[in-house]
Structure formats: structure tokens, C-alpha cells
């Protein structure tokens, strides 16, 4: 776990992005998907940095030596979900085959007017989960996001669906967590991703695939202050137009004794890392942390 992803620049240009979005929406998904092959091939050949960063993960998650086709799958999977994000934001969710598991966990609590934290990761697509959110009746859904390092992607998607901007709580301002609390108090759902460190985040040392990795400590500490149920979610891309969404109860309440704060936050975070590892083994090609996660390259 590192802040390495913050240093990475977005590739491509705004015009190329706009063209892709226009293409995707006017030519349709099959034609746009055909374009993903040359694009992924391009990245496979030219972005050696990314390739070097993702290799250790793939070797650990797959438990075997990896080849070009594994790397290519990774890029293709990422590109597919990014493309699908365009359709999802444009309101074309019905063309996807989404298998949802454990949604009752969330529905039951929302029916009781209980706010919930939805805890995700950069494994798979969170957009597909947001789509489910839009189908939950009367539930307010907000997503806590750090969008400062991908302004191009952000602007593009915001222009595609302006209502999305209203559902985003930007991290990095003093009242960020006050907004989170207010949404939960109204019985809403706040989604957050807990596998990436943002600058100045306090980190907690965990074990991920048997190797030490730093995870943000703030997430579990925040959950313990907010005293609401925490539900894990994973929106896994399974090829073609198939997605699998898993909801899993993490804790009715994350209890942290202030006197042993560091230790207990670490224990909770480790539990999260363990579940993440479990799903990573299921769908290694959904891992979209394209950077030196274990901070091994110094």
C-alpha cells in the first residue's frame, strides 16, 4: 500500500477522451469494445512502469508465474469497466447482466432508517454498485472520493451525468466528514474505498498476500466514531456484459477502545484486508491498483 498512485499522471488527452465517450455512445458497446483491443495493446507495450507495478500483485494473487496474456487481461478488464462506466452514467444500466448477492443486508438496514457505510476497494467497478444504489428506493447515496489526481476522467463523467457530481463528497476539505455524518444521520448510505492511502493519511501496517502493506487507518477510526453498520461491497467484472456484486456484513458497529486505538484500528483494518484478499483471489484481473502496492521498489 503506498501513495505511489498519486504520482501517476492520467494518460491520454481530453480530446481523445471525449472522442471515446462520443464513440461509445453513438456506435454502441460492441463497436467500442472492439476498439479496446488496440488501446490495451498500446498500453501493454508502452506503459512499462504500470506493468512493473502490477506484476507482483498478479504473481501473488494467481499463485503462478505470469505471462503477457495475464497483463493484457488486466488492462482489458480495466478498460472494459471504464467504458461501461460511460454507459452506466448515461443511464443504460439495463443492458448489463448484474448478479447481486446479499443486497438484503443493505435493504433491511435502510428500511429501519439506519445509515450505513459501504466499504469498497479498487477491485472491480464501484460504478456498477452505484447503479444499484439508484434502484434503492428513497435511499440517499453518497460516495466519498478523491478525484484530484484524475481531473480528466472526473470532468468527463461529470459532464456525462451532472447528477453524479451531487452524489460525490470530495475528500480533502475540513467538513468532509461532517457531510458524511449528516448523510448517515438522514439514513443514507456513504460509499468509500479503503485500500488507497491519500497523502498525510495515517497508515496502519497490515499483511496482504503474506507481505506487509500499509492501509489507511482513517477508515476504521471513522467507522468507529460514526457507529453505523459497515457493509463490504465488491462490484466484480466477469467478462462480456456480466457483473457480480457482493455485499457482505463487515460489522454492525466497529468498536474501537480509544486506549488501544492503534492496535484495534490495525485489527479491524486487517480484517478488511483479509476480505479484500479473498475477493482478489476470485478475480485477480479486477485489481485496478496499478501501482507499487507493497512499496517494494522504494
Amino acid at each position: 500500500m503506498s501513495e505511489g498512485w498519486l504520482q501517476q499522471r492520467e494518460h491520454g488527452t481530453r480530446i481523445a477522451w471525449r472522442f471515446m465517450v462520443w464513440m461509445a455512445l453513438s456506435a454502441g458497446r460492441p463497436a467500442a469494445r472492439a476498439l479496446l483491443y488496440p488501446i490495451c495493446l498500446y498500453y501493454l507495450v508502452f506503459s512499462w512502469q504500470t506493468r512493473r507495478a502490477i506484476q507482483p500483485f498478479l504473481i501473488r494473487a494467481l499463485g503462478r508465474p505470469i505471462g503477457w496474456q495475464d497483463l493484457y487481461r488486466q488492462y482489458h478488464c480495466f478498460a472494459s469497466t471504464l467504458l461501461d462506466r460511460t454507459y452506466l452514467l448515461a443511464g443504460k444500466a439495463s443492458s448489463f447482466d448484474v448478479d447481486i448477492r446479499g443486497l438484503d443486508l443493505l435493504n433491511d438496514r435502510l428500511a429501519r432508517g439506519q445509515g450505513c457505510i459501504l466499504l469498497g476497494s479498487h477491485l472491480g467497478s464501484f460504478e456498477i454498485v452505484r447503479t444499484i444504489g439508484l434502484t434503492l428506493k428513497d435511499a440517499e447515496i453518497k460516495v466519498l472520493m478523491y478525484e484530484h489526481n484524475t481531473p480528466m476522467i472526473r470532468d468527463n463523467f461529470h459532464s456525462l451525468n451532472p447528477t453524479i457530481a451531487e452524489t460525490v463528497i470530495q475528500t480533502g476539505s475540513l467538513d468532509t466528514m461532517l457531510q458524511v455524518k449528516e448523510c448517515l444521520d438522514r439514513g443514507g448510505v456513504v460509499g468509500m474505498l479503503a485500500d488507497r492511502l491519500v497523502k498525510q493519511d495515517q497508515a496502519t501496517p497490515c499483511t496482504f498476500f503474506g507481505k506487509p502493506a500499509r492501509f489507511p487507518a482513517g477508515t476504521m477510526w471513522l467507522a468507529s466514531i460514526l457507529k453505523v453498520p459497515v457493509i463490504l461491497f465488491f462490484g466484480l467484472y466477469r467478462g462480456g456484459n456480466r457483473y457480480e456484486v457482493h455485499f457482505e456484513l463487515f460489522a454492525e458497529e466497529v468498536l474501537v477502545d480509544r486506549r488501544h486505538r492503534d492496535r484495534e484500528v490495525q485489527q479491524w483494518t486487517q480484517r478488511y484486508a483479509d476480505r479484500l484478499e479473498h475477493y482478489c483471489r476470485l478475480t485477480a484481473d479486477n485489481w485496478f491498483n496499478f501501482y507499487d502496492f507493497w512499496e517494494e521498489h522504494g
Binding site: 475540513l174 467538513d175 466528514m177 461532517l178 458524511v180 449528516e182 498525510q200 489507511p216 482513517g218 466514531i225
Partner: protein, 147 residues
């Protein structure tokens, strides 16, 4: 309504009592390992407001709501800004004799005051303060102007 933290009518000792109370609240709430007396209210604590710092602000607002019964909302811009340094640094506003005279005259003309009008001023601020000086000296002397 928010109890004004640093209203004009508060004496210096009130402010420092409140400050030390707030300092204690901060140290206790955030489980800081420092002496409350050493908390510098002017020092920005939530500088960049990223990650844990914004969580600190949340904890602090919960503690304030428990201790003072006031719920801080994210749209209370002033209060959130106050969190940033707990006490905003004093700003200097330069004033000249001329500008004070002009201000007193224009106030007088707005109130249509004439020199012959029988007026009694009851200033509520001491004249050592700028606002007191303006209300108790400049206004009575210059407001009625020439008319």
C-alpha cells in the same frame, strides 16, 4: 443560535477561559498527548484537512455538541473556518482621521441630523476601542456636519 465565541462584549479573561476550555476539549477529544496549556489557538491545526484531519474535525464537532449542545453542520462555513485555526488571526484595518470624519458625516446625513437637533448619544463601547472612538467622539462631533 451559536453562542458567539469571541463577541465584542467579552472581556479578555472570558476569552482566555473559553480558550482553555476549548483547548482541554480538543486534547481530551482527540486524545492528544500534550498539555492543554500548550495548545496555541492561533496555530492552524487542520491545515490541509485531508484524511484524519477531517475526522478530527468530526470528533471535535461531536464533542462540542455533547458539551455545549450545539450541533455543527457542514454548511456552517464560519464555524468550519473557525476550526481551521480555532481563533482567526486578527486582521488590521487601517483608518485615518479623514475617513472617520467622512464616515461620521455620511451617517449623520443618512439620519438627516442637523446641528440644532437635541441629540443624546449613548455609546456602548469604550472610546479606547476604535468602534467606541467612532461612536462616542467622532459621531457626536462630526455627524451634524455643516447643515
Amino acid at each position: 443560535m451559536v453562542p458567539p465565541m469571541y463577541g465584542r462584549n467579552q472581556s479578555v479573561s472570558d476569552i482566555s477561559t473559553l480558550e482553555s476550555k476549548v483547548a482541554k476539549l480538543i486534547v481530551h477529544t482527540l486524545a492528544l498527548k500534550v498539555d492543554p496549556a500548550r495548545i496555541q489557538p492561533e496555530e492552524p491545526r487542520f491545515g490541509d484537512g485531508v484524511g484524519l484531519d477531517s475526522i478530527d474535525a468530526l470528533e471535535l464537532s461531536l464533542a462540542i455538541s455533547q458539551s455545549y449542545g450545539y450541533q455543527i453542520r457542514s454548511n456552517d462555513r464560519d464555524i468550519v473556518a473557525t476550526f481551521a485555526s480555532l481563533r482567526s488571526r486578527p486582521h488590521s484595518y487601517s483608518k485615518t482621521w479623514g475617513s472617520s470624519v467622512t464616515a461620521a458625516r455620511s451617517a449623520g446625513s443618512r439620519l438627516r441630523l442637523k446641528a440644532s437637533d437635541p441629540i443624546t448619544m449613548v455609546p456602548t463601547a469604550p472610546q479606547q476601542q476604535m468602534c467606541g472612538l467612532e461612536a462616542s467622539v467622532m459621531f457626536p462631533v462630526y455627524s451634524a456636519g455643516d447643515s
